[in-house]
Structure formats: C-alpha cells, structure tokens
Symmetry: C2
Subunit: 349 residues, 2 copies
C-alpha cells in the first residue's frame, strides 16, 4: 500500500507541529505532522542497524531540521517529538533492549539520547503501538474510541488503543497480538518466538510461505510449481499473483490465512471489545483495490461472524488500514501530542 | 473462600462512604465500604430473578438504609452508589439486556431505577469487572497498576483493569476472558455460549465435570466411581476430595484445568501485559489453605512459565484473589468512588 497522503500546502497547516520518528531495522522514517495529523513533510535515512546508533541519531535530527526548514517552519514550532522502535524495549526507562534485527542498538537509551540531540522532550512507544495510534488518530480508526491494529508482515504485530490509552503493558509487552495462542496442542505450529500455537505461526507472511511449501511438498498440484521450477521464490506476492490467475491452492492458502486471523481477532474482540479491528502491514493482498484483497477481508469477516458474540459480530468494524508505511511516524507524532496535551502519564510516562 | 474482612470499628472508618450493590442470579449483595475500601457492613437479599425487579430494588435500598443506620452513619455520608450486574448489558445506557439466569430483569433500566429509589448517582459496571476492580483496589491486585481477574465457577468470568480503567468495551462485552479461543479446530470443545474452543469450555466447573464424566465413561479407574455408585453427583468439590485422598484421575483432571488456564492466561498476558493475573471464584480447590490448591496454582504458573515471553513469565504475579464473595460489592463501591473523584468517564460514563 503506498502512502495516500500528499504533503499539504503551508496555508492549511495547523500549528503546533509534531515530529514523528519511526525506527525500523532497515530505515528510520521521519515525519513532520501538524496538529490535525496532516503530513507536512517526510523523509527517511538508513538505520545502520548493526552499528552504534549515536551517529545515526545525529543524522535523524539533521534530516528533521532540514525537513522543517524546507517546509518553511521553525524548529521551535515543534514542542515535542514522538519516537517508536521495535521491541524488546523498556518504555518507562526509554531503552531499547534486544530487538532481534538491530544488534548495534541493544540496550541503548534511545529516548534520552534523541531528546539530548534534538533539544526537545521525547515520547517513546513500541512501533506497532505507534502505528495503531496513527490509525486511531487519523486513519481507519479515527471514528472509534478504541481500536486494535494487526500489522501483517514477516510477523504479526499488534497495537491496542483504548480511550486514547496505548496498552503498553507493565513490562512493555502489551498488545503483542501476534502471540496469542490459537491452538494449545503439542502439535501446534512453532512461532518465530520459539513457542507453539501463536497466531503469528499461522497468519504471518512467514507462515503463509511455510504452509505453501508444505502443500507443494505434499504433492498438491498448483501453478506455483511451474514458477518455482523457473527459479522464483515463494513470497506472498507470488502466491497472490497465482491466486489472481485462478490457481486454487494459492487462493486456499490465502483464505486459510484469513481464517486464522478470524480466530485470533475473535479472541481479541472478546478481550477488548474495540470499535474496530484494523489490518495493516504489507500483506494485505492489494487491500480494497483488488478482488483478492476484498476476498481476503470478506473471509476474515465471515470467520468473525461465525465465532464472535452476535452483538460484536454485528457492530465491530473490520477493515484495512489507511496510512500505509506512514502510520508509525504519524502515530509517534500523535503520541507526543497527546502527552503534551495531557501533561500526564496516559500515553507515555 | 470465606470473607477475610471483619466489619471495622467506627473510629477507623474513613469518610466518605460508598455503597456497593452486586446483583447475582440468586442473591443481591449490598455493602457499605469506606474511602479506603474497608467493609463497614454488609448484607444480602434474594434476587427473585424471575420476578419484575422494581420491588426488589426497593428492598435493596431499604436494606442499605438499615445497614447505614446500624453502622451509626447517615445516608448523606454516601455521595455515590456502585452497581454491578451480570451481562448481557448496555453499560452507557445503564440497562440489563438478557442475562441468562435473570429472566424477570430482561431489558431493565437498572442503573436509573436504582438511582431514583436511592436518590443518589449510580455508577454501573459488569459484575466481573466490578470484582476485578475490588481486587485491584484492596485485594490481591492492590500493588499493581493493572490486573486481570479470572473468576472460576460455573463459567469463567473475566475482568481487566488497566491504570484504573475498566475494559468495558464498546458494546459492554470487554474483558470476556472466558471466551478467548484456545483451540481453533472443528473438534474443539463446545462452550456454554454456543461456540467452540473457548477457555471456559475447558477450564470452568462445568467443563471439569464434563471431562470427569468422559474419563469415567471411557473406563478410567478412579475412586470417583465408587462415590457415584453411592449416589453422589460429580462436582468440583467431590473431585477435589478424591484428589486429596490420592486418586490419580481426580488430581489429573484438576491439573488439566490448570494447564488450560495457563494457556489462556498466556494469551491474556501477551495482550494486556498486566502486573498480576488473579484467580477468583469458588473453584480454587482450597486456595493457599490446601496442598491441592497450591498444586493447582503451581501448575498454572508452570504452564505460563513454559509459554509466556521470558520477561513476563518472570515478572507477572499469578495468585489467588483475596476478597472472596465481597469483591463484587467492594469493587462496585470503588468504581463509584473513582467516578466521583475523576468526575470523568474513565471508569463509568
């Protein structure tokens, strides 16, 4: 899903401005966001995940200052900065712990270091919760008092926002929705985290590829076979392409993903009862823009209708996210804004 | 578990006082609670669940007035009343919808009717969330910023409190922790709610009895067989008694209950990451007072240690509740107190 938001004209910008920084294993996205959640400007720099991060944070702030200047604003127009990073992390202490894809950043006091370099207070959040806050503020979740965001990619990320409160947890492990158990048996699939039966072990891109390989190994006939013989690699995009040309196995594998998501979403609905469950991340099979994406969404909704309490099946919105890859920095900016407005611990301590 | 709290001496009571009303299918518990959560006095009256409830609410208020007078306080010492009822319900509108065991109370505007009879504002909550708030305020959860309470009885009830916020949900179906799915297969056990694979279908008293009957029907040898031939009925108490006298099947059935709870608790921990998970309700096998109760708790903790993220397995407290049957009215009183103090919608709209 590409970014749907154009950079806005200066006359429509509502001050104050907020800076959102979304740290990922490959890139760091930096966005200047106005008080209504409009993206005023954005840029990104490489993370250099295996190197010591001090120099990278200097470059983040340099890029941010340039972004602000280019948009015609002052650095002083920004009262506070929002920062999202992957876990594991210690949110109250502002520390990254040992995020698996960023070895150079382990046990790094990222919040206070960024605050020192940019000279502003920094609100710190898990990247998936920041993305959820973005969708909650100005995305698919903007009409609802509470949402759950599932981010479908290599893993299944999660973010939960209830009444503007991000469910960070006592140990910065809240909203890890990919790691709810949907099958308790010893025979359940193994998750990337080393435990069995988690939603992520069934519904992530990794899991889809594994289920595809197993089906082909078991001799299921599929047009995917020919593409592999031609030297291609199994990816969700390849499976989607074959599903779109009518391959029954490829479609079945995608709809099975939707089935597992329906199971997990039902558990989350019975726990949180949010206004909406939003599906973000790259693995959306085209979203509303393709027949396949709509079939995927319909299958999730159908499974939830079968399994959830009737009132929830009827009233809970289930839909794709709207902010694409911008959700993380928009949400980080929104969390900074909420913290500045409340001056309280609601979102960030 | 019996009530641990004695009625306190008048000198130690801290004003203002709060009245908590906990409506159940059989009895309505009424408690006078001081500003520190001490029980000043308590009583109960029959619910008359199949009759129109107006007269019953009149008797609730008459009993409450008597309770206040007997304790030597004035009705005016109570600024606000808290009310918990079983679901289904519409919390924002203050309505009971169709709680299964209270046919006479269906679609009854219980909050506003009680407010009219007692002449005070009333805060309204789900009974399981009220009990969770009680344990959070002055029970096993009092040291934690967030808790999950599982109430083990005929069903598995749930209450979630995060930063003083009760997770009521957008459709008054939040915190229904007994209805998370632990087995997605078509072969999973059927829950009382009509859906398959829910935690309650494995870990409730009803489920324990069913698993016991199945084991006996399958020819498993057990001292339970003799007690059934003597005309006794299978109950959790009977199974506990045989487990305590050394019957292996009875012990296995109880520890299997703990296993399923460990699975469900892990999912809830990965969603909420609370400071503590508290086990309330009648089915605690004696709690800390018996070897069997301690084995039950140890087995739950062991399963969570196997399955949860290491930091959560290490840091999250899992323990029995402390307030017994008083948790509901204490928590209802606490919710009224929180609403009066915040004058905001945090706990109750």
């Amino acid at each position: 899903m590409s970014n749907q938001q154009a950079v806005v004209a200066k006359e429509t910008v509502v001050r104050p401005l907020w800076l959102g920084v979304d740290v990922g294993g490959t890139n760091i996205k930096i966005g200047l966001v106005d008080d209504q959640g409009q993206v005023v400007g954005k840029t990104s720099i490489p993370s250099q995940a295996s190197s010591p991060p001090d120099g990278t944070l200097d470059r983040v702030v340099a890029a941010a200052r340039e972004l602000v200047a280019q948009a015609g604003f002052d650095w002083d127009d920004i009262p506070r900065v929002g920062l999202g990073t992957p876990g594991t992390m210690d949110i109250p202490r502002g520390m990254m712990l040992d995020p698996p894809n960023m070895p150079g950043w382990h046990f790094y006091p990222v919040r206070d270091r960024l605050a020192a370099v940019c000279g502003k207070p920094v609100s710190y959040a898990n990247d998936a919760n920041a993305a959820a806050f973005g969708e909650f503020w100005v995305g698919s979740g903007r009409k609802f008092p509470s949402i759950i965001l599932l981010t479908l990619g290599t893993g299944v990320g999660g973010g939960i926002i209830v009444d503007h409160l991000s469910i960070d947890g006592e140990n910065s492990c809240g909203s890890e929705c990919g790691h709810i158990i949907i099958d308790h048996h010893d025979t359940a699939r193994m998750c990337g985290c080393g435990q069995r039966g988690h939603l992520e072990a069934y519904a992530s891109a990794t899991a889809l590829i594994r289920r595809c390989q197993e089906a082909l190994d078991a001799g299921r006939s599929s047009s995917l076979g020919g593409r592999l013989e031609a030297g291609e690699k199994i990816t969700p995009l390849l499976i989607a392409a074959e599903a779109e040309t009518g391959d029954p196995l490829a479609l079945e594998l995608i709809l099975d993903t939707a089935y597992y998501l329906g199971v997990g979403i039902t558990s989350l609905m019975h726990t949180i009862d949010p206004g909406a469950v939003i599906l973000g991340g790259a693995m959306n099979f085209g979203g509303h823009d393709t027949l396949l994406g709509r079939k995927f969404l319909d299958r999730i909704r159908a499974e939830v209708r079968l399994r959830a309490f009737p009132v929830l099946a009827e009233k809970t919105t289930i839909d794709f996210a709207q902010l694409g890859g911008d959700a993380g920095f928009i949400g980080a900016a929104g969390i900074a804004r909420a913290a500045a407005r409340s001056q309280g611990p609601a979102v960030n301590p």
